[in-house]
């Protein structure tokens, strides 16, 4: 199923903003990110 260009653009920008927000968060609360990464790692 192909996406409309506008939807693809919106999805791309959402992903970019989410990635930037996650990285910004990791600067402000590194402990939370370490905790999150440890939990994610434990799933494997």
């Amino acid at each position: 199923m192909s996406m409309k260009p506008a939807a693809r653009r919106a999805l791309t920008w959402t992903a970019v903003i989410l990635a930037l927000a996650l990285v910004s968060w990791s600067y402000m609360r590194p402990d939370m990110i370490v905790d999150l990464a440890t939990r994610a790692w434990a799933c494997f």
């Binding site: 930037l20 402000m28 990464a37």
Partner: protein
């Protein structure tokens, strides 16, 4: 008879080039950006002074610039793919040896020279050559903006990752893990493998002809001068601002958030510059960036220094941080064509790195001599104004060439 340059037909799809190129610069720019995090653990563990570490990083910046034209020349001649493979391997070896070095000399050789050379083969100049040859001219500025934004994102995102790795596995293992990450450039380089160029029709410009032509062309000299200022300003602020803020009594947290804001807004700035470069003359945008940097620094110095003023300054400087990269390289491509784009970008970048070296060194030297950063801040302002003026007369149209003798 005269002719303007002709660009070869693209051989790779734009999506493929953008995706692989962006991921490569994310890795190569990102890995190096967090090296400051190793300063304390390495110097404490090895019993070195901070000067030993700083010297190796300064050499890395110079090696990156000095090897740039050569890496670019090889990429233009033999393909970016091969240069990326060698660059990736050098990066990995450099990182491993950086972790194993027990003397200052070995550390300078690995963290300084090897990694500097590796960066010259895996960063913008080499990637922009492939982008230039495979993205249509009308989308080139935008594509360069995307690649620059990816590098900016790498710088922004890798710092917390590297901080986590050092805390989780120790500084030495963190370097070995990063060496594995640097090797990921190899599979990505396959996405930038251009088929052997079909035998060129008609006479072609030689490397030496291209170098002579560029260095005799006033606009190229002006671009190099402007880029020198960019390196001076950016690296001085990046390296010395945390100490400046501490001297003025602000907490280290403010400096951390300031660098974070620079990184975050840099992503938008580089992308935005690429997009704007598609619609407006790049020389005016470059001038605007340099003059706005000067205005931002003056406002920062004159306004009362508070965490809020630092954050506003950092956000503004972030937008203007690497936004010169896609514009400068797009002008080079526009004027000289894409045949030797990596090499010519390498020369322009060499000038940037000399500025970077002087920004760090003069920042420290003048601080030691005068007891404050004031003089260097005003040099940043004056150089910004000079760069803004120097960029105005740049000609962005394709260079007219006299007919070349058959090769």
């Amino acid at each position: 008879m005269s002719s303007t340059h002709q660009n070869p037909a693209p051989t790779l799809t734009m999506t493929q080039v953008l995706l692989c190129g962006a991921m490569i610069v994310t890795l190569s720019m990102g890995i190096r950006h967090g090296f400051g995090l190793w300063l304390q653990p390495i110097t404490m563990d090895r019993g070195w002074t901070r000067e030993t570490f700083a010297f190796a990083i300064a050499i890395q910046n110079l090696a990156w610039g000095a090897a740039g034209p050569l890496a670019g020349m090889l990429a233009d001649r033999f393909g970016a793919f091969r240069v990326l493979i060698v660059g990736s391997v050098l990066y990995a070896i450099g990182l491993v040896l950086m972790g194993l070095s027990t003397s200052g000399l070995a550390f300078t050789g690995s963290a300084g020279i090897l990694i500097g050379m590796a960066q010259s083969g895996t960063t913008y100049a080499v990637i922009y050559g492939v982008l230039g040859r495979n993205v249509p001219a009308e989308k080139r500025g935008w594509a360069m903006g995307v690649a620059a934004a990816a590098g900016s994102f790498g710088q922004f995102a890798m710092v917390p990752v590297e901080s986590f790795l050092i805390g989780y596995s120790g500084w030495q293992n963190a370097l070995f893990i990063l060496a594995c990450a640097a090797l990921l450039i190899i599979p990505l380089a396959f996405g930038l493998k251009e088929p052997r160029q079909a035998a060129a029709k008609g006479p072609q410009q030689s490397i030496m002809q291209a170098v002579r032509e560029a260095f005799k062309y006033p606009s190229f000299q002006l671009l190099m001068a402007g880029y020198f200022v960019c390196g001076f300003q950016v690296v001085f602020i990046g390296v010395h601002m945390p100490s400046y803020l501490r001297d003025k009594g602000l907490s280290p947290e403010v400096a951390t958030y300031a660098l974070m804001l620079i990184g975050l807004f840099n992503v938008f700035g580089t992308y935005g510059a690429g997009v704007l470069g598609q619609h407006f003359p790049k020389r005016y945008l470059l001038s605007l960036i340099y003059i706005l940097r000067s205005v931002a620094v003056v406002a920062f110095l004159w306004a009362p220094l508070t965490p809020i003023s630092v954050y506003i300054f950092s956000a503004v400087m972030g937008v203007l941080w690497l936004s010169t990269v896609p514009l400068t390289n797009a002008v080079v491509a526009q004027v000289f064509g894409v045949q030797y784009l990596s090499m010519l970008s390498g020369f322009v970048f060499f000038s940037h790195q000399i500025g970077s070296f002087l920004g760090v060194w003069l920042g420290g030297k003048l601080y030691d001599t005068t007891g404050s950063y004031d003089l260097v801040w005003w040099m940043v302002v004056a150089l910004g104004v000079a760069a803004a003026l120097l960029n105005l007369p740049i000609r962005e149209t394709g260079i007219k060439r006299a007919a070349l003798a058959p090769a």
